[in-house]
Subunit: 446 residues, 2 copies
């Protein structure tokens, strides 16, 4: 006889996974690669006002002219609302695609609006590119470290990511050559190289111009497509830009761009510029994903580009971020304990910090949040197999807080590091010694 549970004495049994999720047996295999990313957990942390978040990549929007934006938007709705609120084409509006070509011209790209596909942020462009190129098990090359959102997307398509080391001049061509050669020796090839040449997320470095030619040459030689992700390219702190890789090789580069950092991310307007045949596939993939990108936000961006001094706004952003970068570098030099090193970004949002031997940035994060400072541990930026390399690394963002808050945040971080080092001196490190850079994919270069 089984006992009947009563409201006061419920029959308790340990819940099984199946109890927690009765749909567990139904999921596609790709969901195994879908795990809660560090980005998402940190959105929550970053929103607590007492925490100085050096974690998120949120742009500094107070630089935007909200009042004139409001006026223009009202005018747009009143005069063009019927079109702006209606379905549009899967590829995006012709007017916005024309204007996107003007933006890309600033980095030397000559392109036709026909080859541009508007997407819901460049994240969707990345998703679409992976969708049309990657079968499960296919190899994607990426920098080590690489953008966490890209790694998540590649994982959701069950692609295998092989990460290639960088230094202060970006991706190292010899390492790329070795990775390509090693794949070839295994009878495999990569579907594409995913690279962020300018003001890298998270590394903060920029690929040296001569290296771009080398990387283009290597990829052409090994017949590997390049996916050039360039959200930060116009945010050089001295107004400098670098020639887009797409400009040098239109047939072998898919270029991803975004208005998230040069205008506003809440609109989610990005794009892909692709060789013509690839663009056809991209549009079909995008149509099955969202039918069409939001017409409304495309009209907002197009009107902004037409009516505003958008190049002036970019200068305003550059200046805001330069001041923040300076505050961060000064605070790092002033407060951090010996044994730390960090990159010195010439643009973009991020500094990449290496902490002293024996520390573990992921294990340390809860203690840092207790000290009211947040960052992203290095592990987030490596594919699963390469995460052991990342224990001493972290990404610090200087894009969102005020310079004063950045200084205070770094001061708090220094206190956390000092405490960790003190613990280490007292009790010794429990963590095994780690190697900088990812594990090599090839047995012969391991």
């Amino acid at each position: 006889m089984t006992s009947t549970p009563t409201p006061n004495q419920p029959h308790r049994k340990r819940p099984t996974q199946r109890d927690l999720d009765p749909h567990l047996h139904r999921y596609a295999q790709r969901t195994a690669g879908m795990t809660a990313s560090e980005i998402r957990a940190l959105f929550a942390v970053a929103s607590r006002p007492e925490v100085v978040s050096l974690a998120g990549g949120m742009p500094y929007l107070p630089a935007l002219p909200l009042d004139s934006l409001a006026d223009e938007l009202a005018q747009m709705v009143a005069t063009e609302g019927m079109t702006a609120l209606q379905y549009g084409s899967a590829q995006g509006t012709a007017e916005l695609r024309e204007r996107i070509c003007e933006v890309m011209a600033m980095e030397g790209i000559r392109a036709h609006a026909d080859d541009v596909t508007v997407t819901v942020g460049s994240q969707m462009a990345l998703d679409m590119v992976t969708r049309i190129f990657c079968d499960p098990g296919d190899v994607v090359l990426a920098e080590a470290p690489s953008y966490v959102g890209a790694l998540t997307t590649f994982a959701s398509y069950q692609a295998q990511v092989v990460q290639v080391p960088m230094d202060d001049d970006g991706l190292i061509p010899d390492e790329l050559d070795a990775a390509l050669c090693s794949l070839r020796a295994q009878g495999r090839t990569a579907k594409f190289l995913y690279t962020i040449p300018n003001f890298h997320n998270p590394a903060g470095v920029t690929m040296a111009v001569p290296r771009r030619a080398e990387v283009l040459r290597l990829c052409a030689e090994y017949q590997v497509l390049i996916v050039e992700d360039n959200p930060y390219g116009l945010l050089g702190f001295d107004g400098q830009t670098y020639p887009a890789m797409r400009a040098a090789d239109p047939d072998n580069v898919v270029y991803l761009g975004s208005f998230s950092k040069t205008f506003a991310p809440g609109l989610r307007v990005g794009w892909a510029l692709a060789p013509h045949a690839v663009r056809e596939k991209l549009v079909l993939a995008a149509e099955s994903a969202t039918l069409c990108p939001p017409t409304f936000t495309q009209f907002v961006v197009a009107r902004y580009l037409a009516a505003h001094d958008w190049k002036g706004q970019i200068k305003t952003y550059q200046e805001a971020y330069r001041i923040r970068r300076d505050a961060m570098l000064e605070a790092l030099a002033h407060h951090l304990p010996p044994g730390c090193r960090w990159t010195r970004p010439a643009g973009g949002f991020y500094v990449w910090l290496t902490v002293p031997e024996g520390l573990d940035t992921k294990a340390m994060l809860p203690r840092a949040v207790t000290q009211r400072v947040a960052y992203v541990p290095g592990t987030a930026f490596y594919a699963e197999s390469d995460r052991s390399a990342a224990a001493r690394l972290m990404r610090l963002s200087f894009c969102y807080p005020t310079p004063e808050r950045i200084t205070e945040g770094v001061r708090r971080l220094a206190t956390v590091l000092d405490n960790e080092l003190e613990l280490q001196r007292t009790f010794g490190s429990l963590r095994p010694r780690t190697v900088f850079g990812p594990q090599s994919p090839s047995p012969d270069t391991a």
Copy 2:
């Protein structure tokens, strides 16, 4: 010795597929299922002013109060712009998710905002649901016919679609039982049943209420999830609504909703309401697809729902579409030749027309466009294997044109049909006799 081409006498060779697309060898296998949909081709046709388009599913937006929308938007940008233009959560804003629960309550759904995921139109919700559930080769059940955008999405995930016949009361439970039984006999199961219970696209029919219980019972019995797509549910022409299937079985139904038809499609705001564990997977999938849905359009919709008489606006839409439906039904009865039959929708956007034996709506379309009328051939609404069933079918939309234009469009369509029948009488039909309804997936019911 080979001849050298000169600028005046270029060496011509027939281009190979590889010449046309040097990336051809790189695409993922799923791109084989990505073909230009009839939707996309018809967006182009529909935009020519001399054509009466009975093809597109564009809502009748002149019913919207643009001036007050413009004012509210300006106020929203001026006061909440910093948040509305910033990144948001992958799940969508809490305020909008709360309001979505109020909308769903109109059809008997009691839901918590935690279980709602905002998406870029319900198309993205469909894409995400397919992403988390379908491995290549998995079976999805759908009505015959079914929404073309859903079939495209299922194809892009290499799912196999098995279509189940409908009649004037919607999906036929006995046919569903037969399909489920046949799959079981093959040792297979379906990942989910995709259904549009209300004012079906393209069939224009509504699933009878007693049938909903039967379909829910069958799916529970065979352990098949239901994906209930309900973009038109609030557009009953007499203000009538039907109980959502989700209301009766919260644990086995993923419900998809949209503001595209009750407000405006250019905002691309839709949602999925899912059992809690499924919702977690959906949010992870959505994060890798777009990082987050546009914050800006979510603020627009939330403010619209807060500040406008949105229920009154839905009544305005119902009335506009009722008048159009009446114009279409009257014109069909008045002009169409004998041998045609059509559904009589009680809501939504579409009439499903069967033309006389021997005619082929797809072959006829170019001649119809020449006569300045467009529709969607039935083939669009069947998975590849089932398309032979659709030759006599077409979808007619009454959502967008004025009643006068609808009448004129049907008159032109009648002329086209008369001409086709005349040709047929003169030369005989070249088309083999077709069977109404899809090919059965099972040998024993074929």
